[in-house]
Amino acid sequence: MRTIIHKLTPSLFQSEVAIDLQDTPLPARTSGREGSKGGMGIAATGRFLMLPGQIVSLLVLVVPLIVALYMSFTDWSPTRGSLFDAQFVGFENYSELLIWDTRFLYAVIRTILISTVCLSLEFMLGLGLAVLFLREFRGKSILFSAFLSPMMILPVVVGYTFWMLFQSNGPINQTIAFLFGSEATIEWFRSAPFALLAVVVTEVWHWTPLFFLILLSGLNAVPENPIRAAVILGANPRQVFWRVILPMLKPVIIVAFIIRSMEIIKLFDEVFMLTRGGPGSSTETISLYIYKLAFNDFQLAYGAAAAFIVLVGSLLLVHLMLRPMRKQLLEVHR
């Protein structure tokens, strides 16, 4: 854990912090003059401002994580009394999870699969819509707001709404019956592939607007001159898009992917409302599996170990995504 945090820290923020310190235009000579009011010095003020955030993070994130880490090495469950009475079992939970627990393995694979499919679709649809929105037309701002609305809706409500839409007598089946006849209708939540498809559709509907929003603001910020130059040099619109615009959009695309990956890896609410992981465990995501372990089966220690594996995995994933892209991210950030 520590080494990961240390390794991640410089790559993400060090250069930025360094830049901030460099442009701090308040060196000692000014602080002499303003010291008359008895205010705190630079360092003290800075520390003071950071304090509340640090306390909250420490109490509400770091302490529970330490407890969870300790717990993951025990066989504790609520029926065994206090956490201090728990039996220390070493890496037993971890080896069980990583080697024997196929349900966990499948949940991981499934989550990665859902994430890959959803993010690709969201990216393509979002980019397509964003490109259409480069044109000027009447009612553009209203349409823009309408296209953003899904991402403002609560995940639980989105899950519930699509659960209704996918009912066997719901409007989606009704439309299918109208187009292809009633024998083509689908029992969405009774078969694993269709249930997975329902999850993907829901997730894509919910979060394509985020890609659309981020990519559109990126597209609007693309400078005109390189495009003009390319056109003058004889590039056709397709070449301009793939060779000039898209490369310039790269930093924004990366930001969008990082943000969405961080979120979709935790996918829970929508699936909970749609399928509860069913039929069987065929739509179970990592979060849903850990939730069931801890709060349905009360295997809290085992659940904590699973949570840690996921945590380390997602930290590594984000780190891997960030490393080659650090520069772009910081450029956007400045």
Binding site: P10, L12, F13, D20, L21, D23, R33, E34, M40, A43, G46, R47, M50, P52, G53, Q54, V56, S57, L61, P64, L65, V67, A68, L83, G128, L132, F147, S149, P150, M151, L154, P155, T161, F162, M164, N169, P171, Q174, W205, L213, I214, V240, F241, I245, V255, M262, F268, D269, F272, M273, S287, I290, Y291, A294, F295, L300, G303, V310, L311, V332
Partner: protein, 286 residues
């Protein structure tokens, strides 16, 4: 660059996209005003012939639905609405206040150790299930389970990265010279921030507040595992209705869903121009 005019295919694509985007919203809104006979009709009824507000009424007066011959709803949603408003408002205020301190600290002093920004950010990376498990244990030990205090503490912690980074991006936009001028006038550093920086980012502060409110109001999993009888929020109540009735109370559930999403859509449209900034931790400015 690319053609600036709308052609017929693009208009068609837009129209199809608009229908796909709006249809689920339309469906949930229509279901919320359907009388019980239309709830689960087969084939499904798209627009109710006799729209009614009985579903909304039933949320707060569980027996109201009985006049349609439908058994009453087991639980009123009053407590859930109260709980959602209470927890979201307090958690949002705390998160924005603390985030504002951190934002100024990071933007102006690059301070707090190099790890702090990362620790704050990684709060968002943890799978909620990973923090929920230890929380339940810690909170049961210190008698904070099933209490709003516990729920609010978690909400503040998980939204802190968003409020900090979003506010930092607004603070970054304020020229330092303005603060320096205030400091030369004899104000202390801290007072300069309070009197000068904060008023200058009013708009950003408002957007951040709305954005954090959206996050808190939408939160589901922590509320689900930390609530038994005292604590309740709208998302948890919605899940309870669906479980308790196997989802057969379509209209009432849809009414609660509509009630839950109206404030968010209003807040979301209100801060539309800053939504990208919030979602990307201030990395994308619009």
């Amino acid at each position: 660059m690319l053609s600036k005019k709308l052609t017929i295919p693009t208009v068609l694509i837009m129209a199809v996209a608009l229908v796909m985007v709006m249809f689920p919203v339309f469906w949930i809104a229509m279901t919320a005003i359907k009388p019980p006979t239309d709830w689960n009709a087969s084939p499904a009824i798209w627009v109710p012939s006799e729209p009614t507000f009985i579903n909304f009424l039933t949320l707060f007066d569980t027996d109201a639905i009985r006049k349609y011959g439908v058994g009453g709803v087991s639980q009123s949603a009053t407590a859930a609405v109260f709980g959602s408003v209470f927890a979201s408002v307090i958690a949002t205020a705390l998160s924005v206040a603390i985030g504002l301190f951190s934002a100024i600290g990071i933007s102006r002093y690059g301070n707090g150790g190099k790890a702090t920004p990362l620790i704050i950010l990684s709060g968002r990376m943890f799978p909620p299930a990973a923090i929920a498990v230890p929380f339940v244990i810690i909170f049961s030990t210190i008698a904070m389970i099933d209490s709003y205090g516990g729920l609010i503490a978690i909400y503040v912690a998980v939204t802190l990265p968003f409020s900090t980074w979003m506010l930092k991006s607004f603070v970054d936009d304020v020229p330092r010279e303005i603060e320096e001028a205030a400091m030369l006038d004899g104000r202390s550093r801290l007072m300069a921030h309070f009197r000068v920086t904060i008023p200058l980012i009013r708009g950003g502060l408002f957007s951040t507040t709305m954005f954090i409110f959206i996050l808190n109001w939408s939160e589901f999993m922590f509320a689900l595992v930390l609530s038994y009888s005292n604590v309740n929020t709208i998302p948890v109540q919605l899940a309870k209705y669906v479980t308790a009735t196997a989802g057969t109370l379509y209209g009432v559930q849809a009414a609660l869903a509509v009630l839950a999403m109206v404030p968010l859509i209003l807040a979301g449209y209100g801060i539309q121009s800053h939504l990208a900034r919030g979602m990307t931790f201030g990395a994308v400015k619009q």
